[in-house]
Subunit: 154 residues, 2 copies
DNA sequence: TCTGAAAATGGACCTTT
DNA sequence: AAAGGTCCATTTTCAGA
């Protein structure tokens, strides 16, 4: 399951654009299209490629507000933390959720339609939780860079 | 450029899995494969679908650490902010970058190989900037939910 | 690596509202 | 006009030799 430089070059190409035809990828990295096909298949089977997805522009579908929320919990009991994790993950407006070390315990990246929807969600997610000590809201004025790319050539 | 329920259903499907064949998508939403093809093409041309990409598992390629950094600037002069934005965006380990309102000015999501690499990057990105007042580091212990999906059915 | 079969894409054309 | 459906050529994928 070790990756050579061909694999890295392929991963780098498809994480930028997964619509490129395999023969074109082959030209870029100097492999036959069959070799490209085999490698991509293996990378997917091995889980190196988690999935292939279309990135939808949030603003185009009415989600024009990105909010980052830091959450500090009251009690770190495992069952309570687990319940919170599940609540956060189940919320479709919570696009990303990280369990972090430091002053705060969770960082959420949320996509909402407008401020009211966020206010509503804070009620459901934080006020009604009974285990949130406090939370801090950072409103994004500009999403300068959004992606899930991993450095592969550096 | 308005989206009907067919468009929404298609977007929802492809943002989960863009490898689904168009005829299969057509069955799911009750359209012919040609209609699916036309709609997806238009959604892409209109920028509703920003791009189609493969999601690479960071850990599989040696990037096993996710760090979230909040950055407060010293001086909000536009040219200085702009220079910072460019520096952040140009760094491949900075996967996401948000310009936010509140106590801090930037939030960065970074993918690094290990703590040393992060330490090195803080030097390059923050200490050498001359315009960073302070920064706060949140180390992710668990990436509970990672994605860029937008709620489309809710 | 090459070849070829099966599948998917995407355009042309006609029909419906 | 705008959008759907059917049909068909072209391209792409992907397995076996």
């Amino acid at each position: 399951m070790s990756l050579d430089s061909f694999d890295r070059a392929l991963l780098d190409a498809v994480q930028r654009d997964a619509t490129t035809a395999q023969h074109a990828l082959g030209e870029q990295v100097n492999l036959s299209s069959a070799a490209v096909n085999r490698r991509l298949k293996k990378l997917t089977a091995d889980g190196v490629i988690r999935k292939t997805v279309a990135l939808v522009d949030p603003a185009s579908v009415g989600y024009s507000l990105t909010v980052i929320t830091e959450v500090q919990v009251e009690n770190e009991r495992l069952d309570l933390l687990d319940a919170m994790k599940r609540t956060f993950m189940a919320c479709p407006q919570v696009q990303q959720c990280y369990y972090v070390a430091g002053e705060y315990d969770f960082v959420l990246i949320m996509q909402v339609k407008h401020m009211e929807q966020y206010t509503e969600l804070t009620r459901a997610l934080f006020f009604e939780s009974n285990n949130v000590k406090r939370f801090n809201t950072l409103v994004s004025m500009s999403n300068l860079k959004v992606g899930l790319e991993v450095p592969l050539l550096a």
